[in-house]
Subunit: 163 residues, 4 copies
């Protein structure tokens, strides 16, 4: 889905691999955000490996790569402790946020706050946010490397002022 609206700020209860990061503070840089769950097969087999590849391919650009652990089921086993092991085993070094629930209570709503704010349909979901903070693409499911590369190349080519 190609979109064009301000990307909502994210709500994160805990960060791994980073001090707390707000979307607002990243204004001026393009952001690749992938929402995943550590026990979702499509995430683990395709989306996370692709995100690792993106992080490596654009390491010399100013693209920001961020993972968001949007747990909306099986909370008792996809805990932050389990996530930490997952990140270690998969050698994921870019910032990972845990999508928050209101009052830190997963029974408060079927979905965590950032999933709600972005109206995500499930995991994996890919979001591309441009230098001005506009949400340019949100995709539930898989995106092939060629199209993804082109969209990232476009965001990188835009200047912050012009964009």
């Amino acid at each position: 889905m190609s979109v064009q609206r301000p990307a909502p700020e994210w709500s994160v209860s805990r960060w791994f691999n980073s001090a707390p990061l707000s979307l607002a503070a990243l204004r001026g840089r393009p952001v690749f955000l992938h929402a995943f769950q550590m026990l979702c097969p499509g995430c683990v087999q395709h989306a996370v490996p692709q995100s690792l590849k993106v992080a490596q391919a654009f390491v010399q650009s100013d693209l920001v790569v961020i993972g968001l652990h949007t747990v909306f089921e099986h909370h008792h086993v996809m805990t932050p402790d389990a996530l930490q092991v997952y990140l270690h085993e998969n050698r994921i070094a870019y910032p990972i946020g845990v999508d928050a629930y209101r009052d830190d209570d997963p029974s408060s709503h079927p979905l965590p706050l950032t999933m709600q704010a972005y109206a995500m349909q499930g995991t994996p979901t890919l979001c591309l946010i441009d230098r001005r903070g506009m949400l340019r693409r949100q995709q539930f499911g898989l995106v092939d490397d060629l199209h993804l590369g082109a969209e990232i190349g476009t965001l990188l080519a835009e200047s912050a002022s012009r964009a």
Copy 2:
């Protein structure tokens, strides 16, 4: 590694998708056993999908497909509860055993009992056991489909008496 020795009996503390199963009771049928950990990337991305493919490809033969959850690290998050979610999410329907520790105590030894008995070096490990209960192949790491198919075809072609 091509081997030829009696396959040790396995030690399982809990079964999923099956009543308790002993190797002895499977005598007469060839067995495909894959040892894995649910948070081991090579297992999740390659060995488990291959095992699912094997289970489907040989569904009309008398091959027995078994998974063994050989947790030797991060026990606090690779619990039976977490495994149950993993099996559900990945639609794994063949029997899965949890490799046991002596006295159910992971601090008793760095490795669980079946890993010790088979002298496995890590996960994933693939074991092929013939109709007579001989361990014909044990491989740490990945095996390509063509060789794996050939070895399974060989075991299936052997008669229980002759073998």
Copy 3:
């Protein structure tokens, strides 16, 4: 298609990488025969690479790997000279026969003689022939490595007398 009938003798007008070979002379050994055309995309991208892989995987067995160039269209460019370059560029070292036309005349029939004898539907076509000369499998299109490996393993496991 799983079949069980005597494999017809092939008709070959020219051999590459080998002295003339008859199927009859190979009795006692299992035969992997792949029919292809050098300008058929499915052959070039999938079937020929798979055949090269089979030739390498079973090099220590007595499996015979044979390619058959079954040209039924565009004869003016898929000549033996062009085939020779194709074999050289793809480093194909196993025996390759050119499927013959009656009186060496491609206008004599829409299909060359071996294609007719086997009732092949097109290229690529895979044939597995057992030690007794029985055609055990004939498949138009692609076969995945796991199933193919299993069928080859089965043929290899059969003894010539028993089979």
Copy 4:
């Protein structure tokens, strides 16, 4: 290899799928040029399928996709007639030029004229030319989809004036 110099005009003896096209006439549009030989395995198995994918992925952009048949060996079988069959069988519908030799004589030089002008090292070779006619990338061998997509996205994002 990342480069930045005016892309040389190409020398083409015959066009398929198009009236004659000069690079000069394409000024203002980005150009994806892939040099290939129809019997080069790396071309046939990777570069040409990738080029077909590029042509489809960017069909709604103003990217120009062009194939150049740079035959520098085995001229007697990689003829324009054979190429025509190859294009038909692989359903290649974008413009394809045949790299020319001086006086149409392949014995005049080991390489055809465009290969010489671009100093190509072999096939496949990928060239990306920007809207101003600058050669921004020339790569012998394979390029992965993610990087390729990003580079195409960058070229597309540039305006003709600014670029």
